[in-house]
Amino acid sequence: MLKTRPSGIVGMVVLALVVSAAIAGAIATPFDPTLVDFSSRLLPPSLRHWLGTDEWGRDVFSRLLSGAAITVSVAGMTTLLVTVFGALLGAFSGFVGGWFDRVVVALMDAFLAFPALVLAIAMTTVLAGSPVAPVIALAVAYMPYMVRVVRANVMTMRQRDFIAASKVMRNSAAFTLVRHIMPNTVAPVLVMATSLFGWALLAESALSFLGLGLAPPAASWGGMLADSRNYFADAPWLAIAPGVAISGALLGINLFGDFCRDYFDRKMKD
């Protein structure tokens, strides 16, 4: 199937690049990303500084790598939290129904009434200072999307006869949920998780752009973009590097997400 969808390959390659940049950023970078060196301020890209330096003389490439580590781990942890808890809550809520389901739906609808980013900004302000603040804020903001998708899936599946068959076999509800319903929701959950990762990555960048991410001097893509604004005329590489990183990563994730969706759709139809 990959052969018929080259964009899927592109997506995977970009995603692999982003993840390896993040890993490199966490282990070792060419320069210390927070090292201030006034003798080399605002240098253009060169062999020594591949992507130039910023107004504090810090190496942009190193900051980009270290920013990748932060952005990817925030987006990754958010996605993980949302996937695990959202899928569990959605599956349980859709399966048992009744008043529990009604409460969950009402709660999720209340959260959905706020734009995710606004909700995240409010929550980061409350949790100010904590390094996990953006993760928790984004996880809460995106949870309703996952709950809804999984719940809807489980509710249609509950009508299928193999769930009735499980009841005829006197299987417990818990067993039916774990053995029959969960494995059949893996595909939509994975598809949802890929797009979530993209949303979370973008939202993390937006939060840092607004100064609500991790405190400086820690590097983040959104923060770098924000800092570059004053020097755009003299040092455009300061804006181009994080800008290309953010949009490139998003494009890759979306291509990969589309590929996943088509793959599972086709598998379902077979």
Partner: protein, 585 residues
């Protein structure tokens, strides 16, 4: 008009239809229909019969195209004709009725508006005339209140009514050719007969030529003049309908007709006396959703005051139309619904309350939906053994493989998944799952209704074989009387949630008493094996006989005497729903 004019209305010659860049779906097909003739196209699913109908209408899916041949209709070649001519012919000269009328009707427009649309488009008449013609057509398809239907939306009506609207609408432009693709397949027997009768009467009157596409041989042999049999896109046989179906000559047709359900030799196997299930005064009520905000939801009595028993080794069939409560009854026995009142007794239920291996299993109509797509076949079949603590996992899988082999799926199938199987194979897996734990009773809910005749034959044989191997009892739920006549020892007839007649198979089929049972039997033509290679079409006619002294037959739904209605014994094991004359006001 009589079917005597010499030039055919429709002449198909050398028609070949192929998938884009792929194999041929229909190959070198040729047949013709004379004016006023009702011709049938028969075949199993995948034989290409629907594709031919679509090709005549030039409504083939874009993936298919006509690669050779011609379709001649009233001087046009429908293969070559340009889109403008086709638009003009479709609807005006060629009408079409399909299986699911709701797909062809727009739910947001009134019935009348949709009927008038075709007339106004194709004929130079005023709205007033069009309206009058439509109302007249509605009356001719025997709709009792045409004006009300004319102004209402299609969603309010039953499937049978919608199909009547379609028929009235299509025939209102007096087309010379009608293509009817499985027009009554989705309908209950009694409605099916009514609609077919009306359709045939109307087209004979209007002189319309009909191409009837169906898989239902008994129905075709009653209504069509000539038949073309398709197999894998090629003609197997063509000729007079009765000749082809009742005196089949080709090997394929012989097999095809022989696969139909058989009337068993008279005298039935004596079941053991042991009572497996005893149901008394069962009521199942569902709550319905409120239709308006703040309104209270209503209740529906899906099953009302039903009593019967099933003995060990016996096949009890439940027949009735859709909505009669037969499926609810079966699901209640299998533990999928709970009884609102009444009792379920017997060894099956006592065992299943302890957590032992369930004594009741179920086979579903939709084999695709009833098997978990993420599991291998062996783990699907092993699942009912999960609660048998005396077995190890390996032993469970081994028994599952044994059961799969027994239903005709060799070891190579064990690790496969549901989507790799055909419909018949899936139903075999469903049966293997139902019998692997050696239950006492299997509730089979329309297990062969979705299958082609030849596959249906295999599954019926398999069910019979499983029954004799394991001494199973079946509660066999079906709307198809010919299948029931083959397999059942006793028959329960349900209508509107109530049991209206119950008795041994022979009594029910030979001496039906209740008016509903008689209507049902008369609406179900069946093909019977007469001698070595000839068959005979039986359209049962039943005789009225009086209800027992002091009683009259009670029709569920009629206002009078429902509360007093009871099953009255009229013969050995034969009961019928009656109400005492004394209790009527």
């Amino acid at each position: 008009m009589s079917p005597s004019s010499s030039t055919p209305v429709l002449a198909v010659e050398g028609l070949t239809i192929a998938a884009k860049g792929g194999s041929a779906i229909v190959q070198n097909l040729g047949f013709s229909l004379k004016s006023g003739e009702i011709g049938a196209l028969v075949g199993e699913s995948g034989s290409g019969k629907t594709t031919v109908g679509r090709a005549i209408l030039r409504l083939l899916s874009p993936a298919l195209s006509v690669t050779a041949g011609s379709i001649r209709f009233e001087g046009h070649d429908l293969v070559q004709a340009d889109a403008g001519i086709m638009r003009n012919l479709r609807g005006r000269r060629i009408g079409a009725v399909f299986q699911e009328p709701m797909v062809s009707l727009n739910p947001s427009l009134t019935v009348g508006r949709q009927m008038m649309e075709a007339l106004l488009l194709h004929e130079a008449i005023s709205r007033r005339e069009a309206r009058a013609r439509c109302l007249d057509m509605l009356e001719r398809v025997r709709i009792s209140d045409p004006l009300r239907c004319f102004n209402d939306y299609p969603g309010k009506f039953s499937g049978g009514m919608r199909q009547r609207f379609m028929l009235a609408s299509v025939l209102s432009t007096r087309p010379s050719l009608l293509i009817a693709d499985e027009p009554t397949t989705a309908l209950d027997a009694i409605i099916r007969k009514e609609i077919m009768d009306q359709m045939v009467e109307l087209v004979r009157e209007l002189g319309t030529t009909v191409l009837l596409i169906s898989h239902d041989l008994a129905m075709l042999s009653q209504y069509s003049d000539t038949t073309t049999v398709l197999k894998g896109g090629q003609i197997v046989e063509h000729g007079d309908t009765r000749d082809i179906l009742l005196r089949p000559r080709t090997a394929y047709m012989r097999e095809f007709v022989a696969a139909l359900p058989k009337r068993p030799a008279s005298g039935f196997t004596e079941a053991a006396e042991e009572e497996l299930v005893s149901v008394a005064n069962l009521d199942v009520t569902f709550r319905t959703k409120p239709t308006a905000p703040f309104a209270k939801g209503g209740t529906v009595r899906a099953v009302q005051d039903v009593s019967f028993d099933v003995r060990r080794g016996e096949v009890v069939a439940v027949v009735g139309e859709s909505g009669s409560g037969k499926t609810t009854l079966g699901r209640t026995l299998a533990g999928l619904n709970s009884a609102t009142s009444g009792t379920l007794d017997g060894p099956c239920f006592i065992d299943s309350q302890t957590k032992a291996v369930p004594r009741i299993q179920m086979v579903f109509q939709d084999s695709h939906s009833s098997l978990d797509p993420q599991m291998t076949l062996e783990s699907i079949v092993a699942e009912p053994l999960r609660q048998d603590r005396s077995l190890t996992n390996a032993e469970r899988l081994a028994r599952a493989r044994g059961a799969l082999e027994e239903v005709g799926l060799p070891a190579s199938f064990c690790k496969r998944y549901v989507h790799e199987l055909s419909g018949g194979q899936r139903q075999r897996v469903g049966i293997a799952r139902a019998v692997v734990s050696h239950p006492a009773l299997v509730v089979a809910d329309e297990p062969v209704s979705a299958l082609d005749v030849s596959v249906q034959r295999q599954v019926l044989d398999l069910l019979a074989q499983m029954r004799s191997t394991y001494g199973l009892s079946y509660l066999f739920i079906s709307h198809d009387l010919s299948v029931v006549e083959e397999i059942a020892d006793r028959v329960l007839v349900m209508y509107r949630g109530r049991l209206v007649e119950a008795g041994p198979r022979e009594s029910i089929f030979e001496r039906p008493r209740h008016p509903y049972t008689r209507r049902l039997l008369e609406a179900t033509p069946r093909i019977f094996h007469a001698s070595d290679d000839t068959y005979e079409l039986a359209i049962p006619s039943t005789e009225f006989s009086d209800a027992p002294d002091g009683f009259i037959y009670y029709e569920p739904g009629s206002a009078n005497g429902g509360g007093l209605a009871q099953m009255v014994q009229i013969d050995q094991g034969h009961q019928v729903l009656c109400t005492p004359v004394a209790g009527l006001n």
